[in-house]
Assembly symmetry: C2
Homo-oligomer: 323 residues x 2
């Protein structure tokens, strides 16, 4: 897996570097974009795109345009999300919002988004026509998911189904569409590409539930996070929603009051209720359910089984992560 | 002209209404978009697009997708511009920024932008492949122009050439690209479509210079604007830049000091200098130069001369406007 990631990362780096060989004018607009891209990150989404294309022995140079499009789009969402979250830091560095101000952060983000479509327009006409609708569907869902997340914060009741839809849109559709688009670039039929999409959605949901689990039940020494950070912030993550679904009206009110309050022993009190209801195990059962689903979707894809090892290893690495 | 505008407006209204027949979820994300589109405006850009397509007897239903894309894109820029300008009102109504808050204004704008590309992707593959690169080039220039405008505010020296580039990007490329894309939708060659683009750029520059002129030298009773609003705001509009180009270093400093100061007779003092230098006439000469250029570009377009009356009338109406 490591060698393939190396190979894909090299292609992505070359393609990204070739977008702006020199800083264009107006520099104040483009510099924050290059600053954002410099920070790197794991390039997980474009790597998945190229891997799906490679599964079908597709042309990786053509797919690299879409891969960079997906990576630029991801970075565009981070740039605008950081404004909405009033975030100070991103990948250990100051956010563009704090560094360059609101107006530049909005406009640099907007420009990145247009650049995404300029990259997609550089593919062969046949590929572009096939990829564009899939990319657009994904991008719309990402915006919708972001808004749902914000809405949920001000609501008392959020159903498990609503939460799953939100994390699907906000987190899972981007890597899922990356693999779907990669498969299309490799020559897969829409039906086969859809299986890669389903795999991505399911593994993305599993990952997000595991992430919620780690925040509440993980070992802070291993995760590097504040113990119960989500609880302190009053977030309606999966363990909270599962707890609420087990409580009667009165207990629910009391639980929510604690969650939204500022008692010094807030985290301990919430954890005590969760332990009693075995929310620890129930949350992990949900994550496992989606993890198993994802493996079944992967299984259903036609073709070389050994070629799927990369994607199995990817799913495993997400589920075993400690931080 | 009026009857053609009626016809095109009807097509645009139908197409816009069909995008979201019902308000999608999450409502809080889509409602501000419909609120923005409801406000209407003149729909000048999509009308120009359909007119250029119609000049070649093209399929207006196909072109309507691109026309609505252009209108949505224009409204997207207004939505984000209102954040950057901290604007209270737009078309006499509260801005989305003030009405729905920063986060929704950013995200609704982002979604509108994606929706633009979803509309473009609904055209026939051949048209889409031809239109997309032209649309992207325009969109990137609009972002760059917006940033240049913001940059110029903090700079002391701005050359006439820089200013012309800024207003070209910020204002003129959108209607110009609308006509270019319309011509392509109608079956025009890239060379002929480029002439429509040039016409749009030149008439757009002429319009913006005339607009600058009106702000400084227009009759407030006719324009409905505050006398010398741009001067009060210290804006480096065309009359200011032309004045600066006539002054020596010392006079320049003194002029800029007055312009950026708050003297009660600031407007009168600036106007006195401008009158002495005949900036009134010089500014109008610049506007006329671009207006005449635009008519020559229109002239150079092959085909039915009577069909160009619509575009002549459009250019005339922009130049004769009193407000």
């Amino acid at each position: 897996m490591h060698r393939m990631i190396e190979k894909y990362s090299g292609i992505i780096r070359n393609e990204l570097d070739s977008i702006w060989p020199e800083l264009p004018e107006p520099k104040s607009l483009y510099e924050p974009i290059l600053y954002t891209l410099e920070a790197g990150g794991k390039r997980m989404r474009p790597v998945l795109l190229l891997a799906a294309c490679d599964y079908y022995n597709g042309n990786l140079q053509q797919a690299a345009k879409a891969a960079c499009g997906v990576e630029l789009f991801h970075n565009f969402t981070l740039l605008h999300d950081d404004i909405m979250d009033n975030a100070e830091l991103r990948r250990g560095r100051q956010t563009v919002y704090k560094r360059n101000g609101l107006n530049t952060a909005i406009l640099s983000g907007d420009l990145m988004m247009v650049k995404v479509y300029q990259l997609l327009a550089q593919m062969s006409p046949e590929l572009m026509v096939a990829v564009l609708p899939k990319f657009n569907d994904m991008a719309i869902k990402v915006c919708e998911g972001q808004q749902m997340d914000a809405e949920f914060e001000t609501r008392n009741e959020v159903s498990i189904d609503e939460y799953l839809q939100m994390i699907t849109y906000k987190t899972a559709v981007l890597p899922a569409a990356a693999m779907q688009i990669g498969a299309v670039c490799g020559g897969a039929s829409d039906t086969e590409a859809q299986k890669f999409y389903d795999f991505g959605i399911e593994v993305g949901i599993a990952f997000q539930i595991k992430d919620d689990w780690l925040d509440v039940f993980g070992n802070p020494e291993e995760t590097g996070k504040v113990k119960g950070g989500d609880i302190l912030a009053g977030k309606k993550s999966m363990p909270v929603l599962l707890t609420l679904s087990c409580l009667d009206a009165e207990a629910k009110d009391s639980f929510l009051q604690t969650l939204h309050g500022n008692a010094p022993d807030k985290v301990e009190r919430i954890l005590a209720i969760m332990h009693e209801l075995k929310i620890d195990e129930i949350t992990m059962q949900w994550a496992d359910k989606y993890f198993k689903k994802s493996l079944a979707s992967l299984e259903s894809i036609a073709g070389d089984d050994a070629g799927k090892n990369f994607f199995r290893a990817f799913a495993d690495s997400l589920m075993e992560r400690k931080n």
